[in-house]
């Protein structure tokens, strides 16, 4: 198997152990050991085989479900499932609303996330750690609990309205929940950590010498930021916006709790069709359209940003 042969960039590393002893003889030893390593490595069965169970598992329990959804959308009872888009404005409206909510959520997250990530990046170790903790905690905490908590803040008898009314600012409770505003507030809160982490990862890849060079050449801190740092942080901006936008499109939980039941988003419609109406075919068709739009956006996004870094691979 050709793949078991050590890659060309491995052997030069091999002498490190020998080089530490610093003698001429050592380099001979290292050459011998490299040869032996290559021979040993050849006897090891391909590492690639280890990936087989995982890939098989994903094909079976992820690939099959997606394929099944696509098949049901065409056969349960017929491709006419896709006609719902032509027949009822509810579905088209849901896609438009979902898209708008996703745009606003992404914009708000970027607006709040950029300064946050920037301060995290530019400040000392301890403050960066604290700020990072403030992001990781909500990032990993239950979306259900966070959405539930927002309903305590936003409902008519909730914290915000009670406070405003007792302060005499308003007489009637403000409609903060059961509408697109509630959904957007909740989704911004849920997705902001994704944005901050993407932006921060992008900023860390920027060479600090570049802004330093700009300043030493006479640029004011503001100019150095605007002309050097900001353009260099674009990769993080694209990555964060892509991930937030894509997750927004398929969101179910937050709109279900904070949104307007009369103006459902796509995720809610899909759940309603499948578990409420038991219309697997129509639900499948809605799912396929959502999936295809998601993949088109992700595909377009990969032209701007390396998807692998979006998903958390370190370089």
């Amino acid at each position: 198997m050709a793949e078991a042969v050590i890659r060309p960039n491995d052997p030069p590393d091999a002498p490190t152990v020998a080089a530490a002893s610093g003698s001429a003889a050592a380099s001979t030893v290292s050459t011998v050991s490299t040869v032996r390593t290559a021979r040993t490595a050849r006897r090891v069965p391909g590492w690639g085989l280890l990936a087989v169970p995982g890939i098989a598992f994903l094909l079976l329990f992820f690939g099959w479900p997606i394929a099944d959804m696509a098949i049901l959308s065409l056969t349960e009872p017929s491709p006419a499932n896709y006609a719902v888009f032509a027949e009822s404005p509810v579905y088209r409206d849901a896609y438009v609303t979902t898209f708008l909510v996703a745009v606003v959520t992404t914009g708000t997250c970027l607006l709040l996330g950029y300064p946050y990530a920037y301060v995290m990046h530019a400040s000392g170790r301890r403050l960066a750690l604290v700020l990072g903790f403030f992001v990781l905690l909500p990032f990993w905490s239950s979306i259900l609990v966070r959405t539930f908590a927002w309903s305590v803040w936003l409902q008519d008898s909730g914290i915000v309205n009670t406070a405003l009314m007792s302060a005499g600012v308003i007489d009637e409770p403000l409609p903060l929940i059961r509408n697109a505003l509630g959904t957007t507030i909740g989704m911004t809160h849920v997705l902001l950590p994704f944005m901050v982490l993407s932006l921060y990862a992008g900023m860390r890849r920027i060479d600090p010498d570049l802004t330093r060079a700009a300043k030493s050449l006479g640029a004011s801190p503001l100019t150095a930021f605007r002309r050097v740092f900001l353009p260099l942080s674009k990769a993080g901006i694209y990555a964060g916006s892509l991930i937030v936008f894509v997750i927004s499109l398929g969101f179910y939980l937050t709109p279900a709790i904070l949104g307007d039941p009369g103006e459902p988003l796509v995720g809610q419609l899909i759940v309603e069709q499948v578990s409420g109406q038991l219309e697997f075919g129509v639900g499948g068709a809605l799912g396929v359209v959502l999936l295809v739009s998601t993949l088109v956006i992700v595909g377009a996004g990969t032209r701007l940003v390396d998807l692998r870094t979006v998903m958390g691979y370190e370089e």
């Binding site: 152990v17 390593t37 099959w64 920037y118 700020l131 609990v145 539930f148 909730g158």
Partner: protein, 261 residues
């Protein structure tokens, strides 16, 4: 902070954003200790009665135990499969490796609602809706990409010369793996096991589809309670949910930190 332009305003803004990130969620904690029987702000008095309900009421207790069981199995399955997959994908040399390693992360990109209904369709065919095994399988799919990414990162960051040294000193490939490779990536593997645990423990959308009235997880019961009549037990359950997550997160971050030192 010295290098930051317009630092005063920026600092205030960032402090406010930090409050926005953390504070809203915390209201569930005081609510869970209320004496009143309504889930309403402000909480009245102090009592542990809703925690008693959480432990005594079979519906809540069973769901809590089921959540723990499913999350532990998911952590185990996702870590075992994910670690071997990460090894295969980083070390293997075969055609389409890049493509496959990108595709193996697709459960992150595909909207969870879609994964949920697809899984439901397949589970109906297999007759495993409302089973613990089904829940574990579905949650393992969601947790797997996290484990693959996390283990891949720790595999890439360690010095492979250590393995070559062991091999050149006469250790076999198997003993090199167990005595050199595994101990070195162990903190990363442990952290990803905890992340897989949290993923399952908090998961709700897929669980809504593949659970039934008998086999339910804690988030599913919370969600159903939120839609019907609400008593403050929900706040107690929510507090428990977050408490377990925060503990697991703390341990995971400590383990990862161990990797770096």
């Amino acid at each position: 902070m010295r290098r930051i332009p317009w630092k005063g305003g920026l600092r205030t803004a960032v402090a406010l954003i930090a409050v926005f990130l953390l504070l809203p969620t915390l209201v569930v904690i005081p609510l869970s200790f209320t004496e009143g029987s309504l889930l309403r702000w402000p909480p009245r008095g102090f009592s542990l009665r809703w925690y008693e309900t959480l432990l005594a009421d079979p519906a809540w207790r069973d769901a809590t135990l089921k959540s723990l069981e499913v999350a532990l199995w998911t952590a185990l399955a996702a870590t075992a499969i994910g670690t071997t997959t990460a090894l295969g994908l980083t070390r293997g040399r075969f055609r389409g490796r890049q493509l496959i390693s990108s595709l193996s992360l697709s459960p992150i990109v595909v909207p969870t609602v879609i994964t949920a209904i697809g899984t439901y369709f397949v589970f109906v065919r297999l007759g495993i809706v409302g089973t613990t095994a089904g829940l574990v399988l579905a949650h393992t799919v969601l947790a797997l990409p996290l484990v693959i990414v996390s283990v891949t990162n720790s595999l890439r960051s360690f010095d492979r010369n250590l393995e070559l040294a062991a091999l050149s000193l006469g250790a076999g490939p198997v003993s090199t793996f167990f005595r050199i490779t595994l101990p070195l990536v162990a903190p990363g593997v442990a952290a990803s096991a905890l992340f897989a645990f949290i993923t399952s423990w908090d998961e709700i959308v897929v669980a809504l589809f593949v659970t039934d009235p008998v086999v339910r997880t804690l988030p599913v019961v919370i969600f159903n309670q939120l839609r019907s009549g609400v008593d403050p037990t929900v706040a107690a359950a929510a507090t428990l949910l977050v408490l377990v997550t925060v503990t697991a997160l703390g341990v995971a971050l400590a383990a990862r930190r161990g990797l770096k030192t």
